[in-house]
Symmetry: D2
């Protein structure tokens, strides 16, 4: 299904960039939790464009309206439906691309899959804008997980070749979670962060774009989430992470670099810290045999440079079946990595909450 995810926590997202509205229906959220609307609004603002010159000037307030599932500000048990009406849609910006397939976008495979009936304006249902409802759901999931002692955080790990520090793989300080949540450009090393921002602005000037990586960390998860083989924690997380547009890779723990270790180095030896069983290293990113081992779950995600650029590109016109050149002069993000940070926190929260519900944790 194009718009449904989850086993016990089930999400259906909908919406097109230039349609009437976008939204989400969520089944399975644990009942009785009081909703902190400001917390959600803050996460949605972290994702929203138009805040500064690092993003597209398309300003969307992303004000959500909850139609059902919440009664007297608490989760009622009925499906939660939240909608966000589209307000700032300039359709004319996109009119020239109906048949000129934008490289790197879903235009061409979408045209074939939907036989030309899909809404091509602003990327239609392929738009990154559809991640806003995911942030609504994920922010709610984060609140609930927090009440169980589970914290989730993410930071920009690199922009192009400029790298931030990594999280301490053994511990996630709660104050760091809050600090990163407050940052407009969430990095651990702000000096590197400034370099990254310069790199983004330079790409913008050139009508080009730039990618990067995001590191996500989840602390406080119980031992025993996930399954060997199908529905491993890695399967679960990756399946929803690859739902986020522009993601092209994911690695857990030491990731690809674990392949250059030997077994003795890679294995995370167990020891006791008081009554807790913990590991001294966390190369496996909190997951062994597909199952959470109680250490923080850590993964890094590769995000490609935004496909929308204003530099002239070669492409084909699908109607005429001819080669052509394309110049797109809409409102673009020169980089979406910083906006992806709350989205990736959100999908991590959704995955973990589903895994918790599958274990009957609520």
């Amino acid at each position: 299904m194009s718009g449904t995810w989850g086993e016990r926590l089930e999400l259906s997202i909908f919406g097109e960039s230039h349609g009437k509205g976008i939204g989400i229906v969520i089944n399975g959220m644990p009942v009785g939790y009081e909703i902190d609307y400001d917390y959600i609004r803050k996460d949605m603002k972290r994702r929203a464009p138009g805040k500064n010159k690092l993003s597209t000037p398309r300003e969307e307030k992303d004000l959500f309206d909850i139609l059902s599932g919440v009664f007297e500000d608490k989760i009622s048990g009925a499906p939660i439906a939240a909608i966000i009406m589209n307000t700032n849609t300039k359709s004319k910006d996109y009119s020239n691309i109906q048949f000129n397939m934008r490289p790197g976008h879903g235009d061409y495979p979408g045209f074939i899959k939907y036989k030309g009936f899909n809404d091509y304006r602003g990327g239609g249902h392929f738009s990154g804008r559809i991640t806003a409802p995911l942030v609504f759901a994920g922010s709610l999931a984060k609140q609930i997980l927090k009440s169980k002692g589970i914290n989730i955080s993410a930071h920009i790990s690199s922009i192009g070749d400029i790298e931030d520090e990594n999280f301490d793989k053994l511990n996630l300080n709660e104050s760091l979670v809050e600090k990163l949540r407050d940052k407009e450009f969430p990095v651990l090393d702000d000096k590197k962060g400034r370099e990254m921002q310069e790199k983004i602005l330079k790409a913008k000037e050139e009508g080009n774009s730039i990618g990067g990586t995001v590191e996500v960390m989840i602390s406080g998860t119980p031992v025993g989430l996930g399954n060997p083989f199908f529905d491993s924690v890695e399967s679960k997380i990756s399946s929803i992470v690859f739902s986020v547009p522009a993601v092209k890779g994911i690695e857990f723990g030491a990731g690809f670099s674990i392949t250059e270790m030997n077994g003795k180095e890679a294995n995370d030896e167990y020891h006791l810290e008081g009554e807790d069983i913990r590991t001294k290293t966390n190369n496996n990113g909190g997951i062994t045999g597909g199952i959470s081992n109680g250490m923080p779950i850590i993964f890094k995600v590769a995000i490609k440079p935004t496909s929308s650029i204003s530099i002239k590109q070669n492409t084909i016109n699908i109607k005429d079946m001819k080669e052509t050149e394309l110049e797109v002069h809409g409102r673009h993000d020169p980089c979406i990595v910083h906006r992806a940070v709350p989205v990736l926190e959100s999908v991590a929260a959704i995955a973990i909450l589903d895994l918790m519900l599958l274990e009957g944790e609520f």
Copy 2:
């Protein structure tokens, strides 16, 4: 669910390393295809251990017995059930590890999840041996896909820091598919392959282990498989790839290195080759907007060093809740990367066949 995967092609695997037998039930295979048993046996032999000194000496013939779903050597439409009886099980080798949790393994999270009731011998249901039924299913899927012009191949891309060449991202030569399928140690550059094998044997001598990467390529897929957001091609493939034990990362197309490109470089520009729409580069690995664009689908997988090593390790005894030392003297693989090659081809085939069935392609 721990043992079920797929939407239209649905797999249930079962088995424990030292139980009576392992196997798979497959629903949804397209009817009428004649089964090439030798083709399957060859793929299963590629995965099987005991062939040479690069693998565990545990010799398992992996002879499968088809109980249902095949009538007069053709797929009948009923669920296909194939079983492989376990023959060469030396349980005593593993008896000392019942309560001493092997680092890097699923022992500890499994013990907690299954409340100590799981079969601990040889890793039980966590055993890499359970990938044999996946190869049965995947080899069958490969045959069917081949009849539709879809070819799937994989090679060892690196062992430790020794790297093989990469596939040509634009074309997969069918003779190369066969050539790699015939190689005992499937690499593109055999000189590098010999270095890799030396590295593996060195690790073996030290009682240690080594990891690596595998590159997988799928050519001939139609445009339009997958979905934007949930159930993207990347989601689908990654969810089953992370079902393969020891996988810690996956990247599509240029993968993590795409984050160091700019948009102009990363976007794969379209052009016409005769009447075919193709791209000049394939940094997106054949997938844009979550949907196949007709170019070869390419991904690379990180496989960690085998967790089972004979070097002494620190760990805890879960019964006594005490720290202890562990020496495992069973029959180990110093490296499983070469054995993972047919497994990864198999899960790729399974994912693609499910995606094809979802589009009503059969």
Copy 3:
């Protein structure tokens, strides 16, 4: 999941009787179909209350607003989201029932399941009002099926002990479909229909209610829908029919009366009509071995008397855990059987469309 149904056609409904709005998200509708809005509005009006004295005077216009999935009046391939805002909600009518559990309703099991957090006003998410979005989806499905030569119709088969004629089990005349669709009280024998209406009004006068049965018929389905065992056509249809509130029974073909036939009578013998294989009788209701055999699919549904009555009833107060008496003076339907007719047509259409999509029919 409480609010999701389907395999290839996937529905998520949401809403509470007295919340902001209700609606549905539909994934998997075949692309390119032009939507006949009037056709849908007519079906929704057939279900809507407030038209005459046979129904609750709560008047709801059930005006739907499509937020996404439709582009230039055609199905675009993106998830279809339709919402209906609640307008005529008199919450005070229901305030006395928060803790007094109404017999026959979901109040008590709902209170336990949702730990008292569910919206109790007007039945909350248990309200029959939530069937309105199902009619939206089903009416759309009926349009699409009609274009494939599949017709779906239903009529009131009985109210209390007054019985209508049955459909001719071998043929469904298209003009009959339209005729029934136009009737405010859809029966085959209008004389019986008048008796039924009197019976309903009599129950209303007494503050009581009455039930009945509905017969549903689907003609033109291809041979081969469904599966033996799990996911039989009967499984599929019954699983969604029992989603409709107040349904307590379903029978296919001759149903319970087939148990009084012998095999020779019950078996529907095959013969040729021109080049078509048909049966001379249709005791199996178009389904043998769980699979459609090309004859019309026919089933009958038992609908219990509306639980909401104004006669005094004994019950318990869940807060005080004491026995009490209950008098509910809201706006009630003395009978919902006639309003259930378009709902049952709708769920039949949804089930058949999902079965068709599973066979790759679109």
Copy 4:
């Protein structure tokens, strides 16, 4: 899927009547339960044919072999796989029916669906024999539910027009459960039972067959299983009950006769029995609003006369596309209602256990 059912308890059945073997893979059974093999063997014997002249003389011992998922006689958490090898297969009995489609059977829709590739011998995968693995799973589920105070029982409610008494809808005596389990012909009133058996033998003499109904009762279920709308308890149970071959109807509580009651009669008023909330009647069969209300869950199932009869029937030959006559002289059941009793107990147990697992009850 043709062979998979369930959300948290997931079953995959396989097998063909005259293939090598049949079986089941079960995921999600709660770990640690000790298996009572004799209990399972007894249930399987209740279903097995060949015991007396009321059934087909085909004698199948239905000896199951557990390949995985059970360790030291306890459920280990890995998928449980059980196989039953086919031993007594006389294929020649069925050879004449390859192209002559047996009325009332799945032959014709199966031939179309599987394009003629399905194993036609003995009904292939359509065979009632495939219910044996369901009894294995259901018998295991019954054991586990019993340990939670949930009892499940069933009896023959009618054969043709001869009716047994009904269960007391308010209470299920545990000794009655055992008594019925011990009866070769499980009825409440043995005098009626003898009449029924005579009726079956008379049908047998005539080469004809006869149907009937089965009443199933489940006591001790907690309040709160199931969901309003999709996945109501009725949806869940009916979806698996209609997986049992020959079932053509299901009704809960008072079922179709509730349509002749008025609301005051039909509503089950609540009262207190000590600290328990119970109802004085049980017309809703333990389910209101789709959710269990703590009263016994009761349903009745219509089973059609066995399709296989030896009387001459008219049919078509699918190869020649000609009308023909058919006489089947294999080994037939003149009635399967008594053999369906343990099967229906089993699927009830499977459905209830899945609903319990969905509520995190284990």
